[in-house]
C-alpha cells in the first residue's frame, strides 16, 4: 500500500511538471464552461418567453433545464480528454524502459497499477471540482435542488473512473502514447455506442440486453438524480475489469 502511494505521488509530480494535466484541465473547464453558458442563455430566453405567454413567472426546474444537459456535455468531453490523461501512464514507462526498474523493485504489480490509477483519478477529480462554480452560481441566483446535482456529479465521476481504467488498460498495450490514447478512446466509444444500437433494436430481445451493457444507460440515471445499486455495480465492475485486464497484460508481457 505504501508503495502504491509512492507510485501515485510520482505520477502526480510528473503530471504537474509536464503541461499535460494543465492542458487537459484547461480544455475541459473551458469547453464545459462555454457550453454551460450557452445552456443558461438558452434557458433564460425560454423562460422569458414563457413569462410573456403566461403573464407570470413560470415554475422552471433549473436541475432539468440546465444541469442534465451540462452533465451530458461533461461526459462527452471527458470521453475525448481523459484518454490524453491516461495514455502516458504505462506506455511511457515501457518506452523509456523504467518499467524494468518498477518490476525489479519490491513493489507488486497491483501497487503499480493502483498508484497510477489513483493519480489519474486525483487529477480528474480536480478537473471536476473546477466546474463547481456552475451549481454555486445557479444556487446563488436561483433555487436548485442540491441532492440531484451531487448525484449527477457522482455519476460523472464514476464514468470518468471507468474511462481512466480503460485508458490505463490501453496504455498497457503499447509503447506508443498516441496509439494508447486512440485505443482508449475507441473502447470507450464502443461502450457508449452500444446504447445507440440498443435504441435501434428496442423491439428485439437483444435490445434491453445491449442497453444494459451500455455505459450511457447507467450514467443517465445518476444524471437524472437517481441512485440505483445496479448502476453502481455496473460502473464499479467495469473499473475492476479494466484494472484486472491491465494487470493481465503487464503480467503476460513479462512472459514473452
Amino acid at each position: 500500500m505504501r508503495s502504491a502511494f509512492a507510485i501515485m505521488e510520482k505520477e502526480l509530480r510528473v503530471y504537474f511538471t509536464s503541461p499535460i494535466a494543465y492542458v487537459v484541465t484547461a480544455v475541459f473547464v473551458l469547453i464545459t464552461g462555454y457550453l454551460f453558458y450557452s445552456i443558461v442563455l438558452f434557458a433564460s430566453s425560454q423562460s422569458l418567453q414563457m413569462m410573456r405567454v403566461q403573464g407570470a413567472l413560470p415554475q422552471i426546474n433549473l436541475n432539468d433545464l440546465i444541469f442534465r444537459p451540462t452533465f451530458h456535455n461533461m461526459a462527452v468531453i471527458l470521453m475525448l480528454t481523459l484518454p490524453l490523461l491516461t495514455m502516458r501512464l504505462l506506455a511511457e514507462e515501457k518506452k523509456i524502459k523504467t518499467i524494468e526498474l518498477l518490476l525489479t523493485s519490491p513493489v507488486s504489480l497491483i501497487a503499480i497499477i493502483m498508484g497510477k490509477y489513483l493519480a489519474a483519478m486525483a487529477v480528474f477529480t480536480i478537473m471536476l471540482l473546477f466546474t463547481a462554480y456552475m451549481p454555486l452560481l445557479m444556487g446563488t441566483y436561483g433555487s436548485i435542488q442540491w441532492m440531484p446535482i451531487l448525484t449527477g456529479y457522482f455519476g460523472v465521476w464514476l464514468l470518468g473512473g471507468v474511462f481512466i481504467a480503460v485508458g490505463l488498460f490501453a496504455s498497457a498495450l503499447t509503447e506508443n502514447q498516441i496509439i494508447a490514447s486512440f485505443v482508449g478512446f475507441g473502447i470507450v466509444l464502443i461502450l457508449w455506442l452500444i446504447g445507440w444500437i440498443a435504441q435501434g433494436m428496442s423491439d428485439s430481445p437483444l435490445g434491453p440486453m445491449l442497453a444494459y451493457l451500455s455505459i450511457g444507460e447507467h450514467t443517465e440515471n445518476f444524471i437524472k438524480g437517481l441512485t440505483d445499486t445496479q448502476d453502481l455495480v455496473y460502473q464499479a465492475s467495469l473499473i475492476v475489469v479494466g484494472l484486472f485486464l491491465t494487470h493481465r497484460v503487464l503480467e503476460s508481457q513479462r512472459w514473452k
Partner: protein, 315 residues
C-alpha cells in the same frame, strides 16, 4: 550467495540462454563476458525477477527467485543496460522516489540518499534535472539507484558503456569499492574491464557458458606454449639462427619495429628460457632493449574460446 542452476530462456523457438549454471560467493565480483546477443542481459533480467525463465532455478541470499520474488527484489540492486531514469525529475527527487519503492523506512531515507549521492559522486548535481545531465552522470544516477537501499547483491548490466575513458576508470573504481560489502555481477564486452575489477569471469557465448575462471587462470589454461618477446637494438643477420640453437626453442619469428628488431621466441611448454636468451643477447652484444614472457591477453582468450567454441575447457 547466488546459486544458478540450469537456467534456460527461450523466446519462441529462439534460445537466448541454455543450461546456465554457476555460483557466486558472498563479496565476490563476477564478470559476464560475451559478445552481443550472448545472453548476458537475459540472464540478469531473470535473476532480478524482471522476467521468468523457461526452466531452471536460482536462489539469491537463500531465497528462490520464482517462489519469493519479493524477498529477492529487496536484496538486489539492478542497473539495467539503459539506466531507467525519469528525465523530468531532479536527481534528489528521483532518488527519493527510489528510496520509497525500495521500501527504505522513512527515518532512514535522508541518510540513504546522502550516502548514495556521496558514493556515486553526485552531491554537486543533486538539484539538476536528470534530463540535463551528461551521459556519465546519468549512468552514475543509475548506479545510485541500484545502491540506495544498500542491497546485498548488485547486478550491473554494462555499467561502463557510453562513458569516456576517464569516467570508465572512475566507474571501475566505484565498483571495486563495492566488492566485499556487496556481491556484484557485472556484464561487459570491454574485456580489460573484467581483469581490472573482477575476481572471476564467466565467458558466455550464444547462450552457453564456455568458461568460468579467474582472469589469470583463464589465460594460463589457454597458453599453448611459452612465448618470449625480445627487442634488440643491433641484432646481427645470424641472430635468429643463434636463438633457434638454444635448447628448448621451437621457433623464432622476426619482425622490425620502430625502436629496434622484435623477435618472438616460442619455447617448449613449461620451460622458461628467459635467462638463457638474456645471456645470449648480452654475450653477442645485440643491444638488449626488452625481454618479457608473453601471456595471452583476455582478448585472445575470449576470441579463442568463442571462435573455437571449445566446451572441453569449461571448468
Amino acid at each position: 550467495m547466488i546459486q544458478v542452476q540450469n537456467l534456460t530462456k527461450r523466446y519462441g523457438d529462439h534460445t537466448a540462454i541454455e543450461d546456465v549454471t554457476f555460483n557466486v560467493e558472498k563479496g565476490e565480483v563476477l564478470a559476464f563476458l560475451g559478445p552481443n546477443g550472448a545472453g548476458k542481459t537475459t540472464t540478469m533480467r531473470i535473476l532480478t525477477g524482471f522476467m521468468p525463465a523457461t526452466s531452471g532455478t536460482a536462489t539469491i541470499a537463500g531465497h528462490d527467485i520464482f517462489d519469493e520474488p519479493y524477498e529477492v527484489k529487496k536484496r538486489i540492486g539492478y542497473l539495467p543496460e539503459s539506466p531507467p531514469l525519469y528525465t523530468e525529475m531532479t536527481v534528489t527527487e528521483y532518488l527519493r522516489f527510489i528510496a520509497k519503492i525500495k521500501g527504505i523506512e522513512r527515518k532512514q531515507r535522508a541518510q540513504a540518499l546522502t550516502r548514495a549521492l556521496e558514493r556515486c559522486v553526485l552531491t554537486e548535481v543533486r538539484g539538476r534535472l536528470i534530463g540535463n545531465l551528461s551521459r556519465g552522470y546519468r549512468q552514475r544516477v543509475g548506479l545510485a539507484q541500484a545502491l540506495i537501499h544498500d542491497p546485498e547483491v548488485l547486478i550491473l548490466d554494462e555499467p561502463t558503456t557510453g562513458l569516456d575513458p576517464k569516467q570508465i576508470i572512475e566507474m571501475r573504481q566505484v565498483i571495486k569499492e563495492l566488492a566485499g560489502r556487496h556481491t556484484v555481477i557485472l556484464s561487459t564486452h570491454i574485456l580489460p574491464e573484467a581483469t581490472a575489477v573482477c575476481q572471476r569471469v564467466i565467458i558466455i557465448h550464444e547462450g552457453r557458458i564456455v568458461a568460468v575462471d579467474t582472469p589469470d587462470q583463464l589465460s594460463a589454461q589457454l597458453r599453448q606454449s611459452e612465448k618470449i618477446h625480445l627487442t634488440l637494438k643491433t641484432p646481427q643477420p645470424e641472430t635468429a639462427d643463434v636463438l633457434k640453437a638454444v635448447p628448448g626453442v621451437l621457433s623464432v619469428f622476426h619482425e622490425p619495429s620502430s625502436d629496434g628488431q622484435v623477435f618472438i621466441v616460442e619455447c617448449e611448454l613449461g620451460r622458461d628460457l628467459r635467462t638463457e636468451l638474456a645471456s645470449q643477447a648480452v654475450h653477442h652484444r645485440w643491444g638488449l632493449l626488452e625481454l618479457r614472457a608473453v601471456t595471452l591477453s583476455l582478448e585472445d582468450v575470449f576470441l579463442k574460446l568463442t571462435q573455437e567454441e571449445a566446451p572441453e575447457i569449461t571448468a
